[in-house]
Amino acid sequence: MVEVTLIEAARRAALQEMRRDPRVWVLGEDVARGGLWGQYKDFLGEFGAERVVSTPISESTIMGVGLGSALVGMRPIIEMRIFDFVMCAMDELVNQIAKIRYMFGGQAKPAVVVRMPHGMWRNSAAQHSQMLEAWFAHLPGVIVVTPATAEDTAGLLVQAIRSDDPVLFFDPKDLFGVPGNISDPIEPIPFGVARRVAEGDAATVVTWSAAVPVVAKGVEMLAADGIKVDLLDLRTIWPWDQDAVIASVKKTGRLLVVHEAVEVAGFGAEVVARVVDVAGPGALKAAKRLGAPRIPIPFSPALEAEVRVTPEKVVKAVKALIA
């Protein structure tokens, strides 16, 4: 076990897998210089310019080239720098990567990992802060990974690189500096298994990605008030750990889903709808979501604070839920 920051954990995971498998290569802007976040620091020296490729600002082609290389047997890590830029590569992602295995009747499995650091971060405003992970849960053909800790980032990235499915990996920008303990070697963490962060009977709280530490803080505050809840970090939203959530809800009868993304039509809606579907409305006394209002992310700290999920909002929401 060694204590490292989340982004260093991610670096070590990619490093381990590139050492293990010569088919793995990484492409994206500035990656040969270590990447915007240092997540590929020293890769160039070890793996050379053919496997660590700094690219032009050509997102469509970064994505499409990754795919093309996968079709001849390579396993690319496609670095998108910041999630929002993937909007420049959506045809390649949505119409090609997510469809090819199916459209071609299984002739190819494009084993790509698309890394898309996402979320609010340092007042970056509307074009550098989006959280649209819910979109990809709705998109057949892809895995959607949304880790929140150094441990999970490392283990899930190893799993992603080894996966034959296309994996969309949402690095949580705002948590890159948060430390955690990782093992050596880093063991893969299976997709679709939630992590229990806290245990209690008062309510089930489900969350993922950058919201996790915020919600955890709120849950601690609640515990100090004597309110104990089950807190589940989904870690991946497709597949997601429906069984764990439903088991918890059957125990607590109350569900709150919290995410940084916009509440309307966010993945929280799916969690609620699915629980209601499977467990029946009778299993629930209340089910709510807490997310961002349906507005773009504003720049000003004074306004961004309005949009952010906070521990206080979590406390308030849970109290309302159990009232």
Partner: protein
């Protein structure tokens, strides 16, 4: 290629490939008209010299990407018309188990990495295949087939710049039939043309008469060799004409009849037939090739029409390994 016997054999091969493509597409058109083939169908009648002339220069481990008008590319690359036809019919024995149809035919076993329903969609994929091959130290190359309509989409610029930058083993083929859907290409394309665009992106480029399969073959043979030698990407601008409409149901009535008539006189199959006749191939020989092609495709049609539909559960396969939704009925 200096031995005349060899050369004749090569020309005959080209003739046969073009005849097979033509027969495949005429058969498919008829089957579509008869209601046997569902969905949109884009045929390349008149353009066969491009597919044939390029692909005769490729090895089986060379890869190609294609576009929405890709039957010819697939056949020329070695795909089996029988399985292609079954795919057009949506049957289980089709290349994609009936999931792709005409616009998504692929045969990875012969290096055909897929047709594509998105204009220019195959460009970055071919560039990536080339980069992958280079990473693997293979001397196989990638070939990217696209229409004149694709050169106004962003991936054209991005892909060519990228390929030149990394000196990738990729041959770009712009199959220029002068029209994109229902709009003349020159009415939506500014500047001196695709070869100048390519050169401005660092990609060597020449124009060739795409209704003359020998010209295509000659240019492709040089370009493929250069690309394989590691000299970086090349582009061939191949000028041709689409005799039929945009889709099987489009009469392309907006084109003057004389224009189409004139184009018919430049039919690449007829033209090569005339050359072969000149070189002493008997008309009966040529007819035999044509007849064989027609028979092959008629049989493909009959088989496809009789083939089994995919079982319903097949719809739920080939999605993803983890987190796939199970089929239950």
């Amino acid at each position: 290629m200096s031995d005349p016997g060899d050369n004749l054999r090569r020309l005959t091969d080209l003739y046969a490939t073009m005849a097979r493509i033509r027969a495949f597409e005429e058969t498919a058109l008829a089957a579509h008209k008869a209601g046997e083939i569902p969905g949109p169908l884009h045929v390349s009648i008149g353009q066969e010299a491009v597919a044939a002339g390029i692909c005769i220069n490729l090895r089986i481990d060379d890869r190609i990407t294609s576009n929405h008008r890709g039957h010819g590319h697939a056949i020329a690359k070695g795909a089996e018309p029988k399985r292609m036809m079954a795919e057009l019919y949506g049957r289980a024995s089709g290349y994609c188990r009936g999931k792709g149809g005409s616009m998504h035919i692929a045969d990875f076993s012969v290096g055909m990495l897929g047709a594509n329903g998105v204009v220019a969609g195959g460009i970055p994929i071919a560039v990536g295949a080339a980069q992958g091959l280079k990473l693997q130290k293979s001397d196989a190359i990638a070939v990217c087939m696209f229409g004149d309509g694709a050169i106004n989409r962003g991936p054209f610029l991005e892909g060519l710049n990228w390929a030149a930058l990394f000196k990738l083993p990729v041959l770009f083929v712009c199959e220029d039939n002068g029209v994109a859907a229902f709009t003349r290409a020159d009415s939506v394309t500014a500047g001196p043309g695709v070869t100048e665009r390519a050169k401005a992106l660092g990609v060597a480029a020449i124009t060739v008469d795409g209704n003359n399969v020998m010209a295509v073959d000659g240019a492709a043979s040089e370009a493929v060799a250069a690309v394989r030698r590691g000299e970086g990407p090349h582009l061939l601008h191949v000028r041709t004409y689409r005799i039929t409409g945009h889709t099987s149901t489009d009469p392309a009535a907006w084109r003057p009849a004389e224009e189409v008539d004139e184009a018919r006189t430049r039919d690449p199959i007829k033209r090569l037939g005339a050359v072969l006749a000149e070189r002493g191939v008997a008309p009966a020989e040529l007819d035999k090739i044509i007849d064989a092609a027609k028979a092959e495709m008629a049989s493909a049609r009959t088989q496809a029409n009789a083939a089994a539909w995919p079982a319903p559960g097949v719809a739920f396969e080939d999605v993803q390994d983890t987190g796939a939704v199970a089929w239950s009925k």
